[in-house]
């Protein structure tokens, strides 16, 4: 307990609070720009942290991380384009709300949900890190394979129209995911002898291409109407109290989303991209009125934004206790720790407890800081987007996304691929195919392939190596869950048809 108090005192210094404030603010704007990811923001921060001591550096990185994940919600809500992969599910209900003239309400709800998620993640990290870390270690290759398969079943319920179209989209995503160097084996696939394709189609490229470009084309076609179809512009500011009531009115949804966020955060490699999708899906499944999802139901927004902010501190569990980066931005934080001579592990807490706990507490502060920063920064972004005529807005966003795509890997080919996918995305949207299943297939295909091949390789000494996929208890649990989810998705439909 003394350590916690000392840590809190170390962080509650004016200059530390300033670092958190600046970090969160910077992160918010980076996160709001499609294409600029949390990983990139942290990498750009690195040289600045060298001038700081270890705690200051970590506090700065934690604050930027928290701000980025939250900032992705703004563009998701206002222009239907997730600023970072972790806010994909925020578009599902956030944007319909904006279209109904409830943009400010949506932003307020997203802010409160993010704060709750961020704080919950910190509490988990402070109180339950060691057992959670042990759970994280249970996810070996075969478990990861089943996690990916379970994730793919989301397609069934995420697709708004027909399940068949969702599955088609998922298959397309799986196919896109095979382009490039194979994760195991290292040979080139579908590169057609063209070296730049060795890098494959990155998730962000697909995300921007499939979400942002079609939306921009849509805005060009429909003009202003795409953003605010009904007149709700400038409606009396943030409804802080109302948003609080909305978020806490469904405690089950909030708690479930936070738990999902925490569990996915500790699964190494699953990353934040699918957290919000899973939480959203469960919110929809658990709701009395699942049909209202996707049409501006605040519950969906709460699920997405609370779960993805849990992940920020949540993914620090395997990082701080075991040195395992749970999500790509964590790799940068690990690098900074090692540079300062800090070794992740239990000794990090026993020998440098003030530092470790101070870092964790600062992330809680960063989460709380989202309220003032979000209210002011959010209002600014809202005003800018809402007051800019679409003939300025569309080209500006297009330029920003192109710059962001280029900055991602400093590769012009990525920009071309992004634009190409954008045109494809626009076309298939006309056919009623959603972007989310494609992106989901892209994310999970690689995880599934890797888990499968690693498991089979590990069973080389057995007669039937495939049996290793069924060996572990956790794998078996995941299989049962998968079957149950498929059954659940199929059953009510049949039921409904009879009526």
């Amino acid at each position: 307990m003394d350590v916690l108090i000392a840590a809190a005192l170390a962080v509650l210094q004016p200059h530390m609070l300033l670092i958190v404030l600046l970090g969160v603010t910077a992160g918010l704007f980076v996160g709001a720009l499609p294409g600029l990811t949390a990983t990139m923001a942290l990498a750009l921060m690195l040289p600045f942290t060298f001038a700081m001591d270890a705690l200051e550096g970590l506090v700065a990185l934690g604050a930027v991380y928290m701000g980025t994940i939250y900032g992705g919600a703004f563009t998701a809500i206002l222009i239907n384009t997730p600023g970072t992969p972790s806010s994909i599910a925020t578009t599902f209900d956030g944007h319909p709300m904006a279209k109904q003239g409830r943009a400010l309400e949506a932003i307020s709800i997203a802010t409160i949900a993010s704060v709750v998620g961020g704080v919950v993640g910190v509490v988990f990290l402070l109180l339950a890190a060691p057992p959670l870390a042990q759970l994280a270690l249970k996810f070996g290759p075969s478990e990861m394979f089943w996690v990916a398969i379970l994730g793919l079943t989301l397609i069934g319920s995420l697709s708004t129209g027909s399940v068949l179209k969702g599955l088609l989209g998922g298959a397309l995503g799986l196919l896109i995911g095979t382009i490039g160097i194979s994760p195991i084996g290292g040979e080139s696939r579908f590169t057609f002898g063209w070296p730049p394709l060795q890098a494959g189609i990155s998730l962000i490229v697909a995300l921007i291409g499939l979400f942002v470009i079609p939306e921009l084309l849509n805005m060009m076609r429909q003009g202003r109407a795409a953003i605010d179809s009904t007149a709700g512009l400038g409606d009396g500011g943030f409804r802080f109290g109302g948003a609080m009531r909305t978020v806490f009115s469904k405690p089950v949804n909030l708690i479930r989303s936070c738990l999902i966020g925490q569990i996915i955060a500790i699964i190494p490699g699953a990353g934040g991209s699918i957290t919000s999708l899973v939480a959203y899906n469960e919110a929809k499944r658990g709701s009395d009125d699942p049909d209202s999802f996707g049409k501006g139901n605040p519950e969906g927004l709460v699920a997405s934004e609370s779960s993805n902010n849990v992940m920020v501190a949540g993914s620090m569990v395997p990082l701080l206790t075991l040195g395992i980066p749970g999500a790509p931005p964590d790799a940068v934080i690990l690098g900074v720790m090692l540079l300062h001579g800090l070794r992740p592990g239990l000794e990090l807490f026993s020998e440098t407890g003030v530092l470790a706990n101070g870092f964790i507490i600062s992330m809680g502060l960063a989460a709380l800081m989202l309220i003032p920063v979000g209210l002011l920064g959010g209002r600014l972004i809202y005003q800018v987007i809402m007051r800019t005529p679409h003939y300025f807005l569309v080209p500006t966003i297009l330029v920003i996304t192109m710059l962001g795509t280029y900055a991602l890997r400093n590769n012009l080919v990525d920009v071309a691929l992004m634009l190409g996918l954008g045109v494809v995305g626009f076309g298939i949207r006309g056919l009623g195919l959603d972007a989310a299943p494609i992106v989901l297939g892209l994310i999970l295909g690689t995880i599934a392939e890797q888990g499968y091949v690693q498991t089979i390789l590990g069973g080389m000494a057995m007669d039937i190596p495939q049996l290793r996929l069924l060996e572990n208890t956790l794998s078996q649990i995941l299989i049962v869950l998968t079957v149950a989810v498929i059954g659940w998705t199929a059953w009510p439909r049949k039921h409904r048809r009879k009526e």
Binding site: I333, G345, N410
Partner: protein, 316 residues
Amino acid sequence: MTKTKLTPFASLLGAVAGLALAAPAFAQDFPSRAIEYIIPFNPGGESDITARMQEPMMEEALGVGVNVRHQPGGGGAVAWAEFQGNAEPDGHEIIGINLPHIVGQPIQRADSGYTTDGFDIITWFHFTPHVLVVRADSQFQTLEDVVNFAKENPQSLTVGGSGTFSGNHLETLRMEQLTEADVTYIPFTGTGPLPAAILGGHVGAVISNSTLAVQMGDDVRTLAVASEERLNVLPDTPTFRELGYDIVGGTYRGVAAPKGTPADRVEMLADLFTEMNTTMAERQVPMGFQMTDIRGQAAVDLLARLRDQYGDFLTQ
């Protein structure tokens, strides 16, 4: 960031100052603009962190901006291919290079898009020897235990490492060849997932870089290190050579300029990297790095040596 436009007056002033300082002639016109320093890997990795440390020191020494850019993809191949195709050979564009990556990939993949010899190597500044690591509670106390087990139980011991036909993989193949152990190599994407693989018991052992062994501390037992002499940071770990197997290998990190860059500029940059090494040693040696300065002919010879060492495995 780069100041390319100068007012006429400033140019004049610059020219006068240039003339005044013209004594060591040729070195003065370099660098004349910002240095582009490309890292072909993701942020947060060893190459990235090192470049981020070098960046401010280079800016101070050279008096121009240094832009560290990431261009990950294809295990480095995408950036190396583009660099060899497009970079200006005037010393202002440099790129991080790694061994054995740049030897292995062009042999293994026809479309890697670059050649091993297509760089002017400035210097190899780092070396992290390979280590064989097991979990702290493993049944294996020594390298000999591992070898004996793997001889008696062919293919049942799994050894994790980063990537296929990477340095870790090639070292595993070499260890199998020299010790007659029969293990199954399991590739992971990068070094990041390896701690989980070993602590979670998903693999029986790991072959990785010395930095991983240092980072994981008491959670693991490091059975052998593939360096010529024992490492100060791992004093209790014997070398493979001590144990009777001639295995010396690991990952070398360095920087290269495009082929055809003026030799004096390459040398000037090499001097700079060497100088920075002495500053960085304080932080990096305790992390498990060995600081090196392998340049000129020695840098090229190193490529040939690795091609000998690993080439057979790659062409099979």
